[in-house]
């Protein structure tokens, strides 16, 4: 192939439309323009991720290039339906823009909209193509800060795309910073209608002894693309406790990079994906143990029906200095249909010699004997199946300590099940 053509402007890597949008908005986008220019360079070169990229072997976002996403409208005309949430202060984003009028910021948390005072953060890596795209085009987001020693309780971060009539793309940029000894629970809920791209980047910094509980309910509309990339850093005795429930979107990717930089830090990355139709759900994690005596736990459950496809990629990196690391990773899939598929790629990269690291994966169907046992006790077939699916999920769901958040996720799963029945 002609080399100059391959590198020329006609190169079809899906970046063109987004680069054009960036060029059109340049000068009006908030924040440091050199950061955006570097991201635009990176994104323009690599384009949308495809299966040719090792980190995207099972998930292609090239479909995003074919969709002609537009800018969100700047004004929101009517009060949207928020949907079910929990009794906690809330921050509302519509089409990627923070809505102070619909939000009730909590005491104990300083909330600064990205649009007002943009902070790109030091963790997000523009070598990740979707993070580069976000960095190039981010307009708004919420920046949360909890001062040292403050237990700020729980807050809900609600992202809505309520219109459904025009295909839109938004790239919110969030950050969560906990000072030493601070505590915060963030429940993120994403919902929407119609065709849209929600491409969020979050930086989470957990200082010494701080505890960030980060629970996500991804319940986007059936035609949505959802990409969520989190970069977390955990200092000594800090805890980052994350759970993601993937129910919605046509194509979804939750990518979490968690780096343990101080001794006795702890990371939990648990999650569940319940997919049907032709949905594609990808959970990708990279846990980097840079310091000794840290632990990481990952339990991922996939419930896959119809022709859906689940992906789990999990990498655990243990640096030479990170002795006494205790890492655990388990990915399990329940296939409810012969046409559903799970792809699993665990990777351990261990450079220290005194560590405990294990990973495992299982794939199975509902157990016919257990099903018969339940039915023989009078439980109708559909209800018996739902009970066994819930039981399968229990190991990942039970550790969610926030009762209301867990109850909300369990109801969302029940609704998912009812829609299918």
């Amino acid at each position: 192939m002609n080399q100059s053509l391959r590198n020329g402007p006609s190169l079809r890597n899906g970046a063109d439309g987004y680069i054009a949008r960036y060029q059109g908005l340049r000068g009006r986008l908030p924040g440091d323009s050199t950061i955006r220019a570097a991201a635009a360079d990176a994104f323009g070169k690599d384009g949308l991720p495809s299966m040719r990229d090792e980190d995207w072997r099972y998930t292609s976002l090239r479909g995003l290039a074919e969709s002609d996403f537009q800018e969100p409208l700047s004004a929101v005309s009517t009060a949207p339906i928020l949907g079910e949430t929990i009794d906690a202060p809330r921050l509302v984003m519509i089409d990627g823009r923070y809505q102070p009028g619909l939000s009730t910021p909590p005491a104990g948390v300083t909330v600064t909209p990205f649009a007002e005072n943009p902070y790109f953060g030091r963790l997000p890596d523009i070598k990740r193509p979707m993070a580069a795209l976000n960095t190039m085009l981010a307009e708004d987001g919420v920046q949360l800060h909890v001062a040292a020693g403050v237990d700020a309780g729980a807050l809900v971060l609600l992202s809505l795309a309520p219109d459904g009539h025009r295909p839109i793309a938004f790239h919110p940029r969030h950050s969560i910073h906990l000072e030493p000894g601070a505590k915060l629970t963030v429940l993120e809920i994403a919902r929407g209608e119609g065709s849209y791209l929600h491409n969020a980047v979050t930086e989470a910094v957990v200082a010494k002894g701080a505890v960030l509980t980060h629970i996500r309910l991804q319940d986007e509309g059936p035609d949505a693309f959802h990409v969520n990339t989190t970069f977390a850093e955990i200092a000594e005795y800090g805890t980052y406790d994350a759970f993601v429930l993937t129910l919605g979107a046509r194509v979804a990717r939750t990518e979490i990079h968690a780096r343990l930089i101080g001794q006795h830090g702890m990371v939990h990355l648990n999650g569940a994906q319940l997919l049907g139709g032709q949905q594609h759900g990808d959970i990708t994690t990279v846990v980097s143990h840079d310091a000794p005596n840290c632990g990481s736990r990952q339990t991922i459950k996939n419930v896959l029906s119809d022709r859906s496809r689940g992906v789990f990629q999990g990498r655990i990196e243990v640096a030479r200095a990170a002795q006494k690391t205790d890492g655990y990773q388990m990915n399990q899939a329940l296939l409810l249909s012969p046409h559903a598929e799970i792809d699993c790629k665990p990777q351990l990269e261990i450079y220290a010699d005194d560590v405990k690291c294990s990973h495992g994966a299982t794939v199975g169907e509902l157990d016919a004997e257990q099903l018969f046992y339940l039915r023989s006790r009078g439980v109708p077939d559909a209800e018996a199946r739902a009970i066994l699916v819930r039981a399968f999920l229990a190991e990942a769901m039970d550790p969610i300590a926030h009762q209301d958040a867990r109850a909300l996720l369990e109801r969302a799963i029940e609704q998912w099940w009812e829609h299918r029945a």
Partner: protein, 249 residues
């Protein structure tokens, strides 16, 4: 109550039941005894509706309804209960929730009001106490980490709560010590009434000392080859199956 006529069934390609006939009138307890591989457990599974078994001939009616045409859950709602020889473990399913879900599914199917959590717990605690079961068995996952005896008692607890019209006990006595055996027998005896029948599948006379049957049937190679009163069980205990089987052959 239960009328089985010339029942034939197979699993995969293996014929197990070969023309089994049995009449169990309302209010009676019948024992089914027989050597290993004679088809005792198959009989229980077929009557409860296990999909792994294919009925190739014959009929089974339960209070004049065609049992074999019903889904397993419909059989349960109609009042049939199978106590499993090897009760299944259900990790992630709380025992109390399991029991309440089952009870309310059956009540719903019968057009009765569902029992709320408080009402159910009162019932479940009372019944588990009668069966000398520790309270925490309700809080644990169904049969997970239960001893063999606890699993069997959990089956009897389910029976006590679901109050079937027809109970099929598939070797519920195996693996039980004398005390547990008495408790299980008492659990069944407590249900005895003119509207309750039980089919007790067992290897041994032992259980039948506490749970005296009206009739005893001997099953061999998929058919009932002899029936008699309670004395037949004692005869089998003393002489083994060989004689009976040889007589029938």
């Amino acid at each position: 109550m239960l009328s089985i006529n010339n029942l034939e069934a197979r699993i995969e390609q293996k014929q197990i039941l070969r023309g089994l006939s049995l009449e169990l009138p309302a209010g009676q307890v019948h024992a089914v005894m027989g050597p290993n591989g004679s088809g005792k457990s198959t009989l229980g599974y077929v009557l409860a509706g296990h999909e792994g078994y294919e009925v190739t001939g014959g009929t089974a009616t339960f209070n004049d309804e065609d049992l074999l045409a019903m889904e397993p859950e419909a059989r349960a709602a109609a009042g049939l209960f199978l106590a499993f020889q090897a009760p299944l473990e259900l990790p992630g399913v709380n025992n109390a929730n399991f029991l309440r879900t089952a009870l309310n599914a059956i009540r719903r199917a019968r057009g009765e009001a569902e029992l709320d959590a408080v009402g159910f717990l009162r019932l479940a605690r009372a019944e588990s106490k009668r069966l000398a079961m520790p309270d925490d068995m309700l809080k644990r996952n169904v049969n997970v980490g239960f001893s063999g005896g606890e699993k069997k008692r959990n089956e009897v607890l389910q029976m006590a709560i679901l109050r079937p019209k027809l109970a099929i006990l598939d070797e519920t006595d195996s693996g039980l010590d004398i005390d547990a055996l008495r408790i299980v027998a008492d659990g069944v005896n407590a249900l005895r009434s003119p509207d309750f029948s039980a089919l007790v599948i067992t290897h041994h006379q032992r259980l039948l000392d506490h749970l005296v049957p009206d009739r005893v049937h001997v099953l061999s190679q998929g058919r009932i080859i002899r029936s008699g009163g309670p004395e037949l069980a004692r005869e089998l205990e003393a002489n083994g199956y060989a004689g009976v089987v040889a007589d029938a052959a």
